[in-house]
């Protein structure tokens, strides 16, 4: 039986869309996997020495144990938003004479191979190896590692329940919010008791049985949950959500663009995939912290700060904009045969991106902490984003013809939507252009000249808005048939 399942799995893997892509993409994907895997291994390896150096008084293992709870919460959150559940494929198996139990065991077993489980493995193996090399007691380290793996798997199974059952979701969400709030107001710090628990796990290796039991318990809970709902209208059915209709008629003031704008807002708020993008763009806001905390960038290479500032305000612009026609791929034929001028369609997307840049700019106000210069460079970057990056991104989108399933979360690494060589070429000017625009006047004059040049480039772009939109419209018109054909392909 397992043989058949594995065979199906292998076919699914081999025939998945990302294997049908060009060799260049395969290599890039492979490199990306290597890169992230490498980072995890490296972090795991260096963690010990980093901690030893920063906190010479505290044993690194104790330090790790103290803060492990945050890693677990972080992992839970990332999984909730990113991890795709493997349930939808069991429909065809339901009417075939296979024991339900083996289907469910297989289904749950499959989740063990999820990419997200490997993050922990890759992170903690090197750390444990370093511990062993450093002469920490073998039994303790190995069983501690084993306990961590059980916890990771518990999170894996817990995530499944959270996604499928509202009760579990609310219980967990309330607990997490309570923990964070209590800690924030210094009422109760979870770090200490949690640290005690994890240190206890390390000091008394036989306690590893507890995470093991938790994992088995959660596995059983999942099993029962699916077993009970092993019907079309049960656990495998998509949740049908009540409509949350908000009145958007105030947007009518945007004139002819309004219908599209209203539609885009609904598209973003009602579908899983665009919601994911919005969340990602929020994380982009923190990108500046990598740069502004390093003196070397501020003192010697300020032109790289322009690069950073593009990302702070441009997260949504970049991640949403590069997939612009794809967002509407599910009903593209409708748009193409309806009474729609392409121009208004594009303009509405442009407004949306501009709006996002402005919001991100307002949210970036705390960067004032790093000084007015930093804040000004973020402002200049925002202007560049509005005036030039929006158009470059829209232009790049025209060359992208990958359909998107709106209400399905993107899978980590299997999602190569909008990922093709042309796209990469288009991405270059988005990154390099701001650096060049800043660097030349900075090199010949001073910091302020660079700032002004960057800001001015954005203003000029806005002046030529109609020209740019016309040009982009032509590109879209030219690719119309190809785009329709690509979007109607079965995924």
């Amino acid at each position: 039986m397992i043989k058949h399942f594995l065979n199906l799995e292998w076919k699914q893997f081999r025939r998945a869309s990302y294997f049908q892509k060009g060799i260049a993409i395969k290599i890039l994907l492979f490199l990306a996997v290597l890169y992230f895997g490498g980072i995890a291994i490296f972090m795991g390896g260096i963690l010990f020495f980093g901690l030893e150096k920063t906190f010479p008084d505290i044993d690194p293992i104790v330090m790790v144990n103290n803060y492990l709870i945050y890693w677990i919460l972080f992992e839970l959150m990332i999984r909730y938003f990113m991890q795709q559940l493997p349930v939808m494929n069991i429909k065809p198996l339901m009417i075939i004479p296979i024991k339900r139990n083996s289907v469910i065991h297989y289904l749950l077993g499959k989740t063990i191979l999820s990419f997200f489980n490997f993050i922990s493995v890759l992170l903690f193996i090197p750390f444990s190896v370093v511990l062993l090399v450093k002469g920490y007691p073998v039994v303790n380290v190995i069983l501690w590692f084993f306990a961590l793996m059980c916890i990771t798997m518990s999170i894996n199974f817990l995530n499944f329940l959270i996604n499928k059952s509202n009760t579990v979701f609310y219980v967990i969400a309330t607990a997490v919010i309570a923990i964070v709030t209590l800690r924030y107001f210094n009422i109760f710090d979870i770090t200490e008791p949690a640290g005690k628990i994890f240190n206890g796990l390390y000091n008394h290796p036989y306690l590893a049985i507890i995470p093991l039991l938790i994992m088995l318990g959660l596995y059983k809970a999942n099993f029962n949950f699916i077993r009970k709902g092993f019907y079309l209208d049960g656990a495998i059915s998509k949740k049908i959500k009540e409509v949350n209709a908000t009145d958007l008629s105030w947007m009518d003031r945007f004139g002819s663009v309004a219908p599209f704008l209203k539609n885009d807002i609904k598209m973003i708020t009602r579908n899983a995939r665009p919601k994911q993008v919005v969340m990602m763009s929020f994380f982009f806001l923190f990108y500046g912290l990598f740069f502004f905390t390093q003196k070397i960038y501020i003192e010697e290479m300020p032109y790289l700060l322009g690069f950073a500032s593009i990302f702070i305000t441009g997260g949504f612009l970049l991640s949403f904009g590069q997939l612009v026609p794809s967002w509407d791929s599910e009903y593209y034929k409708l748009l193409m045969s309806q009474n729609i001028p392409y121009r208004q369609y594009l303009e509405s997307k442009w407004y949306l991106m501009v709006f996002a840049v402005i919001v991100a700019f307002i949210l970036s106000t705390p960067y004032l902490y790093f000084g007015v210069d930093i804040y000004l460079i973020i402002a200049a970057g925002a202007l560049f984003n509005i005036g030039l990056n929006t158009f470059i991104t829209l232009f790049g989108g025209a060359l992208n013809r990958v359909p998107i399933e709106l209400d399905t979360k993107a899978k980590a690494f299997s999602n190569t939507n909008g990922f093709n060589p042309t796209q990469l070429l288009i991405a270059l000017p988005k990154m390099v252009l701001p650096i060049i625009i800043f660097f030349i006047p900075y090199h010949f004059f001073n910091f302020n000249a660079g700032l002004i040049a960057l800001a001015l480039s954005g203003v000029i772009g806005m002046v030529f808005k109609n020209f740019f939109l016309n040009k982009i419209e032509q590109v879209y018109q030219k690719g119309k048939y190809k785009t329709i054909a690509a979007f109607s392909e079965k995924k």
Partner: protein, 231 residues
């Protein structure tokens, strides 16, 4: 109203549609029948400029559809589910189409109200997204949306498929009224010979991309069609 000349469509050298000449006058209810792969949807897609003709052209009201976009304001269609916006409710979808076609909320409400019994109380005020409706109900919403904004040409691909018997009968009446009373040119394709002969004044049979029969509907038409497809 619609004239087709020397139209052909080929994929990798295989011709899937080849129509030398086909004129559809204004206000005609026109039926297209044929087995799978006969070229019905291909013809409709060419008519909506969703694919590019290999040779020839279609003129709608003297507008070359593959060169100008001026046919869009008076043409509407429902081909398949990709004409629906899944994350909208039926009402929101109607208003959206209405806005695109220059109709205000009141206009749309008035039009949609006429179809209350067609909807059979399963579409409106249901607080459900279109993607969560059943296939048949999705189709009902799509067909009614195609009637918004007083179009002069309406194209419906297999409108009867997936519909329940009651709705099929109601839809037949709607299509007849459109052509006879309002002078709308209605193009319909179907696998159900009985329905097309009921609804359409003229029926064209496609086979492997070619027109093999062009009939003005009469008492004998259904028999003739049945014989054709049985043989």
């Amino acid at each position: 109203m619609i004239s087709t000349s020397n139209l052909s469509k080929a994929y990798n050298g295989v011709t899937v549609l080849n129509i030398e000449n086909l004129d559809i006058p204004k206000g005609q209810s026109f039926g297209l029948v044929g087995n799978n792969g006969a070229g019905k949807t291909t013809y409709f897609s060419l008519l909506l400029d969703l694919i590019q003709p290999t040779t020839g052209h279609i003129k709608s009201k003297n507008i070359l559809v593959n060169e100008s976009e001026d046919w869009k304001p008076f043409t509407s269609s429902f081909i398949d589910e990709s004409f629906l916006i899944g994350y909208l409710t039926a009402e929101e979808y109607f208003y959206f189409i209405g806005e695109l076609r220059g109709q205000n909320k009141g206009d749309v409400d008035a039009l949609v109200a006429q179809f209350e019994d067609f909807f059979h109380d399963e579409i409106l005020a249901k607080k459900k997204y279109l993607r969560d409706l059943s296939k048949g109900n999705q189709k009902k919403a799509g067909i009614v949306a195609a009637l918004i904004g007083n179009p002069e040409v309406i194209i419906l691909d297999e409108p009867f498929a997936n519909l329940d018997p009651t709705t099929q009968i109601r839809l037949k009446q709607i299509i007849k009224d459109l052509a006879q009373k309002q002078g709308v040119t209605v193009l319909v394709s179907s696998h159900d010979l009985l329905h097309v002969t009921d609804v359409c004044e003229r029926i064209v049979v496609l086979e492997k991309g070619e027109i093999v029969k062009d009939l003005a509907t009469s008492e004998a038409t259904l028999k003739e069609l049945e014989q054709h497809f049985a043989g």
